[in-house]
Symmetry: C2
Subunit: 268 residues, 2 copies
DNA sequence: GCATCTTGTCCGGAATATCGGACTGTCGTA
DNA sequence: TACGACAGTCCGATATTCCGGACAAGATGC
């Protein structure tokens, strides 16, 4: 994993792909295509994909056409561009409905959303980033929404603190790219501050933050522990910054309660 | 597409896979594995998958492990069994959030569900079966739920009538396997009755049915037409059989209105 | 008009992924 | 105990997939 020049191909290689530069198997190319589309979150043409992946054009055309045939990709957007297809949704739904996985979280989100009307999410760590796995959008005037599957730097989120409690300071700094400490508002977060946040989250069993990803939100995150005692997921509320203190406290209490119920009951 | 002996491998071959019996590419094997899991809707072991697909065991182990590594499959169930993984859900969510595809349908379902409290679905034809693409479960005492992605014989459903209006009688009888005329209650539906149902749905612009898939439900289906004038989707209500007539009529009117709004505005 | 960059397709060659089969252990069961 | 079925791993050979490169046709820019 070199740190010379950054590129999509290398970023994905670090995340998923085994070897790079060499001749690759079709299945590896296919996974690369899908991961790229997930990261970019918009239709891409075969040529763009090949360039981003540093893969042969002819190969990508072949793979993309096969995936379209299977319904996992679909023509989308202007000309020759593709994005995820209908079959992918069916696969994803089958996962959600399966016993293990997110089923219990979906019910928890429903209940939390119904009880508060606020935006509530289930999040996890993936490729050393933070991702929203599932969410229920709030009903208020300021409708705070979040995108499932988009990877966000861990230091930008309250959940980022709650997800790293089992790691040493050194391990944490190793897995977070330095660039991720640059917040979206341009400010730089000190790594030491972040480490102290993580320690605080570990001690309290939750973390509250504001002004991180957005200055209009107040975020609460509570870890959900797997059987191995590691925080595999978080449950979080995303509240408007001007929420009443009582409302905040009520939400946090509900969150802690639900997270406790889910802990250990889920795969780690 | 032979009609000699039925097997999973052949059923899937007819649906998705190009050639069978020969050496196959990894990507084709992978797609076969995913389609099989979607069809079975439960965790399977590598051995079971290999047997069902008539594929070499060593190859399936290899493919399954690669898919697990990518998060598209996950260990699930007792021992060595696998099912869809977290990454699949992220891919599927990206599809749902994309402009084309089901986004507009999701909003329509929300609105219909909110207005009536009934179970409402968006359905389509896939592999010459009926599948639910997305749904909102009703709120009533008799909570009627439906499983997204499960393939059901077209003659079992009201939507099955509404989806075939653009086809000739002959074409319809060709694409429906004879076994699909056997209803879940054991009764046999006459093909001619089905053809006349389809004609009726074409004329009325909707179809209502009861006692088909279940004797406790009253189903309403309205086609949604793509740019090519073909019914690409249906919107349907699944009501308890004892719903008041006024409620039924109100639901049907809402359904027709929404389907009209969605027609042509969506990819065919 | 010419140069440059695309997209999409096609083709032959060679690196290698798929396959069949062997092997070990484990579990029931007769 | 012997037997059969199954999970999981490993390995060598060869049929084939992936790759690089060429090509036509269209866009774009100067």
């Amino acid at each position: 994993m070199t740190l010379t020049q950054s590129s999509d191909a290398e970023a994905l290689a670090g995340a998923m792909l085994p070897r790079t530069g060499e001749r690759q198997r079709g299945i590896d190319r296919a996974i690369g295509v899908l991961e790229l589309l997930l990261q970019r979150r918009q239709p891409l043409s075969a040529g763009e994909i090949a360039r981003a992946l540093k893969a042969p054009r002819s190969t990508i055309y072949e793979i993309v056409n096969r995936l379209i045939e299977a319904g996992m990709l679909e023509p989308a957007g202007a000309e020759g561009q593709v994005f995820f297809g209908r079959t992918m949704h069916l696969f994803g739904s089958a996962y959600l409905n399966s016993d293990s996985g997110l089923r219990r979280f979906g019910e928890a989100l429903d209940s939390l959303s119904a009880a508060t009307g606020a935006t509530v999410q289930c999040c996890t760590r993936r490729n050393n980033k933070y991702v929203v796995l599932d969410c229920r959008d709030g009903t208020g005037a300021f409708r705070i929404t979040s995108e499932v599957g988009a990877e966000v730097p861990l230091p930008w989120t309250a959940s980022g603190r709650a997800l790293l409690g089992h790691l040493s300071d050194e391990a944490i700094l190793t897995l977070i790219p330095p660039a991720d400490f640059r917040l979206p508002n341009g400010g730089l977060l000190s790594p030491n501050q972040f480490l102290s946040d993580v320690a605080q989250a570990r001690q309290n069993g939750f973390f509250e933050a504001t002004g991180l990803a957005s200055s209009y939100t107040w975020c609460q995150a509570v870890p959900v522990f797997g059987r191995n005692g590691i925080a595999a997921f978080t449950l979080c509320f995303v509240l408007p910054i001007d929420s009443a203190v009582e409302q905040r406290e009520r939400c946090l209490a509900l969150l802690i309660e639900k997270a406790r119920q889910l802990s250990h009951a889920t795969a780690g």
